[in-house]
Amino acid sequence: MSAPARAPAVAGPPRPRFLADASNEKLWDVVVALSSELSATRGRLDALERILTAQGALPAGGVEAWEPSTAAGVERVHEMQDYTRRVFGTLGRD
């Protein structure tokens, strides 16, 4: 049996360049890709909330109404600081 035909990762012929700087072109690629990833995450979270609400595990508006405890609030701040450093940490290094 022959191997299933695989589509190439990108369409040919070579992609046109729209921006003067190749690194800018790549940066935009990343921005659009991240945006679609984020959209997927939001869609999944929304689905989860709706399922949990339908099953009675989460009251409607429960996430909006949620107030973290002081301990949870502090943990979330530290987590966000760590997250920021993981993503942007390279800027602080040579």
């Binding site: 909006e64 701040v77 920021t84 450093r85 800027l91 040579d94």
Partner: protein
């Protein structure tokens, strides 16, 4: 006393938006809206704490090898570090994001907030809000959207609109973030503490707050001098409506909120014992500054005091620090920033007619809200940290 509010015990880490002090006209932000702002404040904190020291480490040896002769040359040296362009871009981006998102949130709720403001003022008959429909704002406020707030300070969507004030307060909380206290009144509390320390016997009865904005600092001064009448002047009707409703909601009733030009202080209020600006002058112009100083001299009672709190002057500060401070003047829509911090404000007060022997300057710092909000060795976020200069003068002959 303002209502008790808990900020988190996290030192100088960014306070989440939800720790902001609540009142009747504060916009409500959804979980997503809050999360976007919190991500932006953390990015800004990272830029100040991690990237700025790294840029300084590269800048200092280069500046020793080829010393800049002026600030432009210092900027040129800084621009050799590729991180500077990225840092600038991200810093500008975080500023734009918080202004645009906060304004969007306020606009979405503009009808609700207008109704809340109307109701609050209707139930606080003692509160004086004096708007002037014929008022012509100064050009520097019309032409500049200060701090990248779209539309600037003068947005006014209708008779009860408070949108711009709501956007201003929520952005103020996010920009520092939270270090000025839940009510974003760090400069007002600093002024009150400084007066109590330096001139404990000084009890002004009539106080002029020039350029009161959303009244954030005004309320702290009004609380510190509960027996005084505060006349808070600003150009923006939307800001003043918000300020009046906010103050009434917080139980502060000794303020008259007046739409007028701080360059031409109306005479109808009578002589004042204290006339001050709090982090206002950098948004004006050199002509305006001279008019404000002259107006203070004219409107002060004998023995009265004028005070002006601002970022400290550049003077002989290291080039790197000057560049960091001057970034706002170049890229953050601050009209008069760069020029102001090159001026000798004591000399300007003398030129406005105050006796030179009665003119003074001092350092003044924000009063932390949390007792743990001091972190030794922390890199200063220039222009965002509450380390200011106060210049002042007593009226009367030397």
């Amino acid at each position: 006393m303002l209502p008790a509010v808990s900020q988190l015990p996290i030192g100088t880490l960014p306070q989440p938006w939800r720790t902001i002090g609540r009142h009747a006209v504060l916009p409500r932000l959804s979980v997503d809206e809050q999360a976007r702002l919190d991500a932006s404040t953390h990015l800004n904190h990272f830029l100040a704490q991690d990237v700025v020291p790294a840029m300084r480490e590269r800048f200092e040896p280069a500046a020793t090898t080829s010393p800049p002769a002026n600030r432009d040359q210092a900027f040129a040296l800084l621009e050799r570090d590729p991180r500077y362009a990225i840092w600038s871009h991200l810093r500008r981006h975080t500023m734009e994001l918080r202004q645009q998102r906060n304004l969007e949130s306020a606009l979405r709720q503009s009808d609700t907030l207008a109704a809340a403001g109307r109701e609050t003022l209707a139930n606080a008959p003692g509160v004086a809000l004096e708007l002037d429909p014929t008022f012509e704002p100064p050009a520097y406020l019309v032409e500049t959207h200060a701090h990248l707030l779209p539309g600037g300070y003068l947005t006014d969507l209708g008779p009860d609109d408070v949108t711009v004030g709501a956007a201003y307060e929520t952005s103020s909380y996010a920009v520092v973030p939270g270090r000025s206290g839940p009510h974003s009144d760090g400069a007002g509390r600093a002024l009150a503490r400084w007066l109590a320390t330096r001139f404990p016997g000084f009890r002004p009865q009539r106080i002029l707050d020039l350029g009161c904005g959303a009244g954030l600092n005004t309320c702290a001064v009004a609380l510190a001098f509960p027996d005084a009448e505060i006349i808070a002047i600003d150009a923006g009707a939307g800001l003043l409506r918000y300020a009046a409703a906010r103050a009434a909601s917080l139980g502060i009733h000794n303020v008259r909120w007046v739409q007028a030009d701080i360059e031409n202080i109306p005479a109808r209020f009578g002589a004042a014992d204290l006339a001050y600006t709090a982090i206002v002058l950098h948004e004006t112009s050199h002509d305006a500054l001279r008019n404000v100083f002259r107006g203070c001299r004219e409107r002060l009672a004998p023995g009265g005091l004028t005070l002006h709190i601002e970022q400290p002057p550049y003077n002989d500060r290291p080039w790197f620090e000057q560049c960091m401070r001057d970034w706002d003047g170049r890229y953050n829509n601050e009209n008069f920033w760069s020029r102001l911090y090159e001026l000798d404000l004591c000399d300007e007060l003398s030129q406005a007619g105050f006796a030179p022997a009665r003119v003074f300057e001092d350092a003044i710092s924000a009063v932390p809200w949390n007792t743990d909000a001091r972190e030794p060795g922390r890199a200063e976020d220039y222009g965002r940290t509450g380390n200011w200069q106060v210049v002042g003068a007593w009226s009367g002959a030397s």
